[in-house]
Symmetry: D2
Subunit: 321 residues, 4 copies
């Protein structure tokens, strides 16, 4: 193995740049050339590859997003697209590939591996919906951004009787909502996995008011059955002493300065994925399992559903007054 | 004058606690007793007054919201309500009142003053829509919270072709949107004072894309004619290379830790309002004019429209490219 | 078991309040009374115990420090002191104790356990020097505070040729320095475990300058053989193109708003320690091992040296370039 | 006038990049070419000038430091150095110059103006020691960084009996210490303008302890007669119930993300300085006076002492318990 390439794909996550830096420096340390693919699989198909030096990846640790950029590629979902990508890897003399991204990105990595490309994945998505990694790169930062907003809402809430509805990210997976809600002391947490009828929300708010709770915090994952906006509209029609207020965080959660946890996690996972690749071990997703950077075969991971941690579900319930 | 009272009213603003601390300590320093009225005019009508010591207002500088709490009072809008308030002030032996709040709160202060109560106002609202103060308490903190979100959106935007729509506070006044948009390098700023038809927004986005701008930031004040949600829906239907994403900050802007500027402004304005009261000068709003804590008669201020600063409007236009 | 008590001891750590809240609510959920001991073992000796309700521990999640306060107690290091503590626990009818703190605190817990008191510890110290827990409560927040400062120094460094020396906490253990240095891209990391002669520091700085590095970041743990101040003085005398600048973070690292990680970790560990206690399992420190809240006998933990993680040491070396 | 140049000089200040962006876009808007001088007067002497486009100054608003870099130049302090600079300006066809910086930088601007170069200054230094501007660019951000640290120290202080000594920037001017101390509720503020003998500090601490104050915050400007380190050593020897802890913030204060206030101030001041230059009005420092971007002749400003604001001195005294 003489030359490897890196790409970031799917939604960007804080910490991806630490992963790029780590993989680059580990490879260069072993005397291996590194190329960066720009704009994910789209750039791979278009041959948008450029050499990466150790200096190129200096000073990027503290930046959110990915210096390699990301994009969607419908073409890569076709056989012809994957073949084009394989040919470009050959053309640039790439002996191995590191794919930094979430579920969709790792599905792409598996397609390439099926075509004989040595490829390892690095678990990175703020949604934390990727099997094979208890925590994925970006989750911790996104969680802290969401929590900071919840703390601020609570700070203003203490001056008024108010009810706050906060929508956090998570289309299929309620991890961010569950963890932010638990860490932020939310009264109600609504996820794609555990929805709650509006009547039940109203019932709980009234019951809290009866116990003299002066405000209520409701955290809703974006992909929940009843959306934050619908809930807000329904609650606005209710007659009670609380005035519902809506916050939709949106992509603000992607753009936080990467936390120490995410930088260290990204450095560890990307180093491990690169070391494995250089040792001719490929076809793995490297994720955090039991506190360690651990490889799992991509085929065991891709498309697999990852349930919410039972411990956090239990605690969210037990912490509620 | 032997005893004064303080109240906070209307929407809470970061820095209100610094104002409470400042007024309390200035008064006590002059040998004057201080009472805090809880929950604004509602508490004044209900006689919810309690002594405030110098120690009571220690350790509150860094907290958003108001330790005196705030509430709406429909009763205070009636003559009977104002009379009740006046009687309670007499009952508690209050010789003068400090009202910390925005437009509605200062209208209330004027009603009391018309009944013979010595009262001074302190300009405090995150909307910056109060005449008599170039900057009101809370604006700077709210601005920094909004700006932090805009910075984060821009950080993630650089990895994708994206368009972000951010709704900031401001029902009647676009100051926060204008200042946050200018400081955050927004491409488009929409305010209640200066609306923009959706077609014009679309035209500008396309024109920016033609000049190879890779992303666009649109800041919308909550009270604008076309709301952020409507704009988002309209733009989602457009065919172009940008994917619109919506963020609604909501009350997060009220809950930021008060900035140095807001703590110093609050300390200065409340001290001046209190000093004037103790010198038997009342009927004023104390605000920041030309860099100084300056009194203006309440009747010249209440209900008066405050236009957006021409300098910022010019600069927002000149900085767009 | 009908009544338990909680205490926090030693240096405060962000997240301790989440642990207090978690233990309290888990116990109350099981129908158990909870008492809080104020000021650690000093308060235990003085009988400074007070009932804690579920409401008492509401709204404390986001606050650094510990609402139960902490203090040193020389008396508790004597047999007479421990006996007094045991008598007070009996006097207040306490059937079990939760001790939230670091090495010294858990040594105290072991003394009580040796006297027959059912006690479990919760691993909490920003130094991360406690065996039995890969990460202790408070480390993540302290790390993020240190990292934020390193990021800021780097931001200003890019405008000048500068060398920054940052002292972070860690008297016996270099974990914070190692992790912050790695996550912050420091050129040189000096710890109690791995010191570096000043001449070697100078040699590396010159060598970096020759490779056109424009600035250098040196992270020093407070307990290192050559202190940050000594290093600063020595470097000031050196003739080169860098001007050394010193930052000593000190207790700022203790006072950060608890991160999501620390709140969740504290909630998990304290819940587990309490559940074990209620099941009559005591004499354990509950820490994070392999990603799980895991009990280890106190006697295996107390006073034991915890080495720096080999993976981070390797990565810190590999990332330097 | 067809072409102007910009330079940043002296210590970097958060907001300098906003000033660069503003001057560039205002000039380009008027059809004027813009050149950036790298590394201040050193670069001017070496002819290190490069064209700046509108796009070059995009995306720099949120970055601390200065993209034009800064450096010291002893050569520029000589007549020969100034002559070289003048010749380079001629060589590059520069018709006017904008100098963004503090006292020393504006002294340099005056030297060039005395040689017939049309030059305007923009008031920028975190020390706030520049006459002709009530607040200079960078002060607000530095203040918020210092305040954040003071808030954190206070948060941990509440768990222990502790005394904190915080050194903030300010070699000749105590503005940062005064304003941060006032906004952060410090018990004692020590500045170059108002020193305090150690015995007096000790006396006040004891007196506070007698009034049951549980902790004390001492803010010391770096240029004070008794330094923070000396004070710390002296207090460590004192016998009392407080344990003194030292924090030296250092350059962390320069590296904060520019606040909204600093970005807006920089945009306003630089725009005004550029507009004046384009109208052939030069020899001015543009600063914030009475809330407005206001020009003052450089010769009235350079080297002039700026006293601490009497209002803040009074309030710092009045707010002390």
């Amino acid at each position: 193995m003489k030359r490897i390439a890196l790409l970031t794909s799917g939604g960007d996550a804080p910490g991806m740049n630490s992963a790029i830096r780590s993989a680059t420096r580990i490879a260069i340390d072993h005397g291996i050339d590194v190329y960066g693919v720009r704009r994910g699989y789209a750039g791979l198909i278009e041959g948008d590859l450029h050499p990466l030096t150790s200096r190129d990846v200096g000073g990027i640790l503290e930046r959110a997003g990915t210096v390699l950029e990301s994009a969607r590629s419908n073409e890569f979902k076709t056989h012809a697209g994957v073949d084009k990508a394989v040919r470009n890897l050959e053309k640039f003399g790439i002996d191995g590939l590191i794919v930094i991204g979430g579920n969709g990105s790792q599905a792409g990595a598996l397609s390439l591996w099926a075509k004989g490309v040595p490829v390892n994945g690095v678990a990175s998505t703020i949604d934390n919906d990727l099997a094979g990694s208890d925590m994925t790169i970006g989750v911790d930062t996104a969680l802290n951004v969401a929590l900071e907003s919840i703390d601020r809402l609570r700070a203003t809430a203490s001056s008024h009787h108010r009810m706050f509805i906060v929508e956090v990210m998570g289309r299929d997976c309620g991890y961010l909502a569950l963890a932010a809600g638990l860490a932020g002391g939310a009264e109600i947490i609504i996820t794609p996995e555990h929805s709650m009828p509006t009547e039940e929300v109203v019932r709980r708010i009234h019951s809290a008011a009866e116990r003299n709770k002066r405000h209520a915090m409701i955290v809703v994952a974006e992909g929940s059955k009843n959306t934050a906006q619908e809930l807000h509209e329904a609650l606005c029609k209710e007659k009670d002493s609380f005035e519902p207020r809506l916050t939709i965080l949106g992509h603000v959660q992607r753009g936080g300065t990467p936390s120490a946890f995410d930088r260290l996690l990204a450095t560890r996972l990307a180093a491990r994925a690169t070391q494995l690749l250089l040792e001719d071990n490929s076809g793995f997703l490297v994720g955090l399992l039991d506190g360690c950077a651990t490889p799992t075969p991509l085929e065991e991971v891709v498309g697999k559903h990852k349930p919410l941690p039972a411990e956090l579900l239990f605690l969210a319930d037990a912490m509620k007054l």
